[in-house]
Symmetry: C2
Subunit: 155 residues, 2 copies
DNA sequence: ATGGTTGCAAAGACTTTGCAGGAGG
DNA sequence: CCTCCTGCAAAGTCTTTGCAACCAT
């Protein structure tokens, strides 16, 4: 989902395309990491100081409603946003830096069928989030552990 | 995870077992549906009016921290709680009534391996939630649609 | 006995809303 | 032009914190 696509979707749904909204959308799309509304507001402000926090909230609500961005509920009491493909996808999230990798083809069809058969539920969708540490943060962690060990040896 | 197990876990972790906490835990365990903190507070109050909302929040935080209940992030801006088994499990959630079915053996090992190989992430856990309508709510919906149709025919 | 716990009230954080002025289509 | 959008301030909601009294161990 890129900027022109999102703009088109906004227009098609009767929303206006303002400089503020473009700044907000661009910031979301350019960020590889999850952004809370306030983190997003801070980022947007740097690029375009004439955007208020309220507009960020309102824009995010519209984008979320139209499925143009993805909402990820993180451990704390708020949720974060991330750009995403239009089709169904799931997430791989770095618990350290918040980086998100989207992936498609989760292949949960069989599991879903079994659950339907066993529970009588009608399943309409799912959310699958993997949590871990991205390659970069994994290395950082390794370095941190190594230097901690060094300090111990010096005593 | 039943009441005695949870009580034991609380004691083992240096927390005291008070009547309020027991009332809260019982209410969570007896509810098949997701409960937001305030919904839980309302339920607990009926069974035991001498429990304050603050205590519900504090108790939930402890239970969550010890992994004695499960937190599910729902669509709105809050999270809900549900009793759960001690081992790894995932959820099947009724979008209508909030009923939750826990299931184990999600068999995501292969998918996880592929993701690790392709992204370099170190994956430590995941969350898989299926959303749909439970058997009961599916029937209610059918009845509702049927009666709506009846009303239209009467015009 | 003593240290965690409770409930109240107050503070805090986050999000939404009302409104007047302003800009997009 | 008309309608939707913006930003400010205020209100609203949810959650946490300070504190004195209380209770589990």
């Amino acid at each position: 989902m890129n900027l022109p696509e999102i703009i088109a979707q906004l227009r098609d749904n009767g929303h206006k395309v303002t400089p503020q909204r473009i700044a907000i959308i661009k910031t979301v799309l350019e960020s590889p990491e999850l952004l809370t509304p306030s983190a997003l507001y801070e980022k947007v402000k740097k690029a375009d100081p004439g955007v208020g926090a309220v507009t960020v909230y309102r824009t995010l609500n519209i984008l979320e409603e139209l499925g143009l961005v993805c909402v990820v509920h993180t451990g704390d009491n708020t949720h974060s946003y991330i750009g995403c493909p239009a089709e169904h996808h799931d997430h791989l999230i770095c618990a350290d830096c918040g980086k998100v990798v989207n992936f498609t083809h989760c292949n949960l069809g069989l599991l879903e069928k079994r659950l339907i058969a066993e529970t009588g539920f009608a399943i309409s969708e799912h959310r699958l989030d993997f949590y871990g540490r991205c390659e970069k943060c994994g290395k950082k962690r390794f370095v941190a552990e190594a230097s901690a060990r060094t300090i111990v040896l010096r005593e």
